[in-house]
């Protein structure tokens, strides 16, 4: 069993980390303070070509393996969570179903420009009454002539208010619950499609998150992203493991950034005549943090390896997401304790890690839902 990254993967990780340190991290404080989408950074970053990382070379991607993709998500989040969310939406969730099921014309209009950063993508799952409970989706798509008519409102949509197109989850048959779900493509400019309220968030600032409204939106048949109606829930399963591992990787990135801040502070901050890093209880904190971060990293890499090799990773991906998130929350908490009262001031970075980490509890599934899923998968049907 070889636990090392390959030479290629190590080089990739270092290069991505250096790139993030050069062009993203220095702007992270400003992105958080202004809470505006950083268009200039977006253009500069898009030129580097990372947005197509996971897609095949034939369509302008880079055919990266899953470890490399997870490394990318981790380093992005370490640099700026707000920016990372928008980038990852374009690189993964916002474009995946277009890649899988979009016609050539749809791919030309949406996918290829999105992975060049020329268009902004998003995916719409959540509604005010349905987050984890996808079966409660109310956004309805009804056949109308040579297409579909969609009505509903989606919430908590990352990139929503600035998107050029979205993949929207809608039901074609509410009586069937999960089996009535489908994905549709809706593009900006389609009559009835508009942006609603913007949500001002505790963390992940810089990413624009809000409501999307579908008011009698008509789309042609080809905009159904799937082989036939009713298969949406199965397609979600295809990407869910990757999304969970991605969220875990972001958790690892935030934790790593927070950990490094804590380490630097512990080495420099003097109390009672010596650096606080000399005190046992501070050392204990680092021992605990390093232990759980190493464990989280191994779980993420294991899940990524399973996914890369097309092996069943549903349980490991869910566990990795949960564990990495709880690890991150522990690490950012310890950072604020090590910082003392300074952690309570906006001028120090510690408060940003603390705020940004909270979103991890919701993205990729709440832990209450995940635990139930894992327990059910392990125990089986009784």
């Amino acid at each position: 069993m070889d636990f090392q990254l390959t030479e290629e993967q190590s080089f990739f990780k270092k290069t991505v980390a250096d790139t993030i340190d050069k062009i993203v991290a220095p702007r992270s404080q400003e992105i958080d303070e202004k809470d505006e989408f950083p268009w200039e950074l977006w253009k500069e970053f898009a030129k580097l070509g990372y947005l197509g990382l996971r897609y095949p070379e034939e369509i302008g991607g880079l055919n990266a393996d899953k470890i490399m993709s997870m490394t990318f998500y981790e380093e992005l989040a370490r640099g700026s969570v707000g920016f990372a969310q928008s980038v990852i939406m374009n690189s993964l969730m916002g474009t995946y179903f277009i890649y899988r099921f979009g016609s050539d014309a749809i791919k030309e209009r949406c996918l290829y420009p999105a992975i060049k950063g020329e268009k902004i993508a998003t995916i719409c799952f959540t509604e005010d009454q349905s987050g984890s409970d996808l079966g409660a989706t109310r956004t309805l798509a009804v056949q109308d002539g040579e297409g579909w008519r969609i009505n509903g409102t989606k919430m908590w949509i990352t990139n929503g208010p600035i998107c050029d197109f979205c993949t929207v989850l809608a039901t074609t048959d509410p009586s069937k619950g999960l089996k009535g779900l489908n994905f549709f493509l809706v593009e900006k400019g389609t009559p009835g499609f508009s942006s609603g309220q913007i949500i001002h968030k505790l963390g992940c600032r810089g990413t624009v998150t809000g409501e999307l409204v579908f008011d009698n939106v008509w789309v042609p048949y080809e905009n159904l992203l799937g082989e036939e109606p009713g298969k949406g829930v199965f397609y979600v399963g295809d990407i869910l493991d990757e999304v969970r591992l991605m969220t875990g990787s972001m958790a690892l990135g935030i934790a790593t950034g927070a950990y490094r801040e804590a380490l630097e502070f512990a080495r420099k901050r003097v109390a009672f005549g010596q650096p606080i890093g000399n005190y046992q209880l501070i050392r204990e904190k680092f021992a605990d943090m390093d232990t759980i971060m190493n464990a989280a990293r191994l779980m993420i890499y294991y899940g990524s390896w399973l996914l890369e090799n097309n092996m069943d990773c549903r349980i490991v991906a869910a566990e990795a997401k949960m564990y990495a998130t709880e690890t991150c929350l522990k690490v950012v908490d310890e950072l604020t304790r090590i910082y003392g009262a300074n952690a309570f001031a906006y001028e120090y970075k510690s408060q940003r890690y603390f705020r940004d980490a909270r979103f991890l509890l919701y993205g990729g599934g709440t832990h209450e839902v995940l635990k139930d899923f894992i327990g059910k998968a392990i125990i089986g049907k009784l």
Binding site: F11, T15, D18, L48, G52, V270
Partner: protein, 263 residues
Amino acid sequence: MKILVFIKQVADTEARILIKSDKKSLEIENKYNMNFFDEFAVEEAIKIKEKSKETTVAVCTYGPKRAVEALRTAIAMGVDQAFLLENNNLNGDDPLITAKILAGFAKQEGFDFILCGRQAIDDESSNIGVMVAEFLGIPHVSSIMKLDIIDEKKALVESEIEGGRETIEVQLPALFTVQKGMNEPRVPLITGVMKAMKANIPFIDPYSLGLTREMIDTCAAKTNVLCYEAPQERPPVRIIEGNTPEEKVKGLITILKEEAKVL
């Protein structure tokens, strides 16, 4: 036109470096980068190559196996080839030996001109480029800030001197050491990174360059590290207390007057 660039892999500026108990060697945290000044040399070579299709850029380093990473970074930026002159069982620190090996490689590989950083940020010896030029019998200009290749035989350079800049016309082949600020080293595109990941980088034995044991073995070193000493420890950071900026400023002035005695 063929441009040769010398680079060095050095410890990251944030790597922890400890002096070992024998005081003659260092324990360096495993974080390394391409030498800061060499990045400008690589960038300048690539910029020249981009202006002319017939120009190629080769980069080489004399160092341990891990230095391959620095070479990959250069490939990711856009150089065409990279070579590692492996310092297996050879002295890796003496500037004279390093210069002989690099010169040996340059002679074998061929070049129209050579670029390298003005100095390495670890030992700051600032003499390897110049010594290589002497071994090769070619002109050199140090600390250049601007480089115009007129044709295959001539270049015009601006180099930094005290109080200004000097413009010099130089016959090629020549060697130029590059000063920081000459350009803005590019962030590699992902396509470059992927290419670098897959690149085959030959490892070259310095003895295969027509160099003898007497020329490059440890006995040939002209420098010998007697000991390392840590710089004087800076006093710990002190955070000025105060509830308002005004209070903090008053506290700082008091300290500067009464403790540091600089006001």
